[in-house]
Symmetry: none
Amino acid sequence: MELSSLTFGEYSLVYNMLSFTIASMLAAGLFFILAQHRVAPKYRISLIVSTLVVGIAAYHYFRITGSWADAFMISETGNYVASGKPFNDAYRYVDWLLTVPLLLVELVLVLNLSREKSGPMLTKLVIAATLMIGLGYPGELLGAESMFSERGLWGFLSTIPFIYILWILFGELGKAMEGQPERVRVLFRNIRLLLIFTWGFYPIVYMAPFFGLTGSESIVAIQVGYTIADVLAKAGYGVMIYAIAREKSINEGYQLSAA
Amino acid sequence: MELSSLTFGEYSLVYNMLSFTIASMLAAGLFFILAQHRVAPKYRISLIVSTLVVGIAAYHYFRITGSWADAFMISETGNYVASGKPFNDAYRYVDWLLTVPLLLVELVLVLNLSREKSGPMLTKLVIAATLMIGLGYPGELLGAESMFSERGLWGFLSTIPFIYILWILFGELGKAMEGQPERVRVLFRNIRLLLIFTWGFYPIVYMAPFFGLTGSESIVAIQVGYTIADVLAKAGYGVMIYAIAREKSINEGYQLSAA
C-alpha cells in the first residue's frame, strides 16, 4: 500500500482504533473463558472456538499496531510521513485464514446438530472459507487500475466460495434450524445478518482502488472500517454465539451449578 | 545459509508464514488447555504434552521471525538485501530437539497402553528421536557440494534412528493397536501417515544443497515448506491426538461434566 502523509489526527485515529480492537478482543476472550460454566457442557466447545478466534485476532492486532507505528515518522511540520518501512496489511489475511473458518465452525457447533449432519457441513464450510481468503490474497498484493485488472480477477474468484458459504447458511443450515426453539431461531437469523453485514465490508475495501480511493483519507477510512468490522465479526459475533448457547442451555433445563 | 537478495513479495511471504505459524501454535495451545475437560482424565496428559510442543514451537517461531527481520534490510530499489546479520536457522534444531521426542511421547500416551508396554517404548523412541536430531545438526552447519560430503555423512547417520522410529511405529505400536476400537485405529493410521508425510519434508530440505538449490527461490521455498510442515506436524498432529483422546473417552462412556 502506498503510504500518504497523514495529519496527527488521522494517524492517531487509526492507531487508537487498532488499540481499541486489541482491548476488545482480549476482553471478549476473557469473557468466553470465564463464562464457560454458564452454558451446558456440550455448548462449551463453541465458546472455546470463540476464544481462539479473538485470541488469534488480538495477536494480529498487536502486530498490525506495531507495523503501523513503524511505517510512519513525525515530520518537521508535525505531520506523519512514511518512514520507509512498509505497513504490513497482510497480517489481516493471515488472521482471516485462521479465524474465518473457525467462525463458521463455532456457528455449526453451537447448533449441536447430529454428527452425521455437522461433519460434512463443517468440511464444506472450512474448505470454502479457506479458498475465499486464499484467492483474495494474490489480488491484494497487486495494485489495481480497474475492475478488469488481475486484482479484479482474484476478487471475482474469491467471491465464488463466499456465495457458496451464503448458500449453505441460508439453505442447508437454515433448514436445520426448523426444529429449534423460537428465540434460538431469532438469534440465529440475527447472527447470520451480522455475518453478512460485517463480511460485506471486506469486498468493499478490496474494490476501493478501482474507484481511485487511495489517498490518506481512504487509508484511514479503510483501517477504521476494518477494525470496526473485525470487532463486530469476532467479539460481537462470539457474544451472540454465547447468547445462543445460553438460550439453548436454559431451554434444556441446564442449571448453573453451585460449585 | 547464504542470503540472496529477495523481492518484497518473497521476503513478505516468508515473514507472513512465520507469523502465521506463531498464531497457529498459540491458538492450538490455547485449545489444548481449554479442551482438557472434554477428554477423560487419563488422556489429559497427552493434551498437556501437546500444549508443551506448540508452546516451545511458538517461542522458537518468535525467535526465527525476529532473526529473519534482522537478517534483511530494504535496499534503495525496494528489494530486501542481506543486512550482514546471519539468519539463525539453528533455532529449528533446538526446537526439534525438544519437540520431536515429545511428539512421540504424546502419541504413546494417548494410546494408554499398559505401563509395562509403554515404558520401554517411550525410552526407545525418545532416545532415537534425540539421536536423529542431534546427528543432523552438525551436517546442517556445513556447506555441501555433494551427497558424499561430510553433510551427507551426518544426514545418513541421522536417518538410522529415523528408520528405527518408523520400525517401532509400524511394528510394535501397530500391533498394540489391534485391541482398539475401529475409529481409533483409523485415526491412528491417519496420524502415522501425517507423521511420515510431514517428517519426510525435513530430509528433503536437508538434501536441497546437494541439488544446487540455494538461490532466493530455494530459500523461500524451504522456509515456507518448513512452516507448513511444522504447523501440520505440531498443531495439526495435536488436534489429531485430541481427536483420538476424545474418541476413546466417548467409547469408554466418559460424560462431559456439568461442573
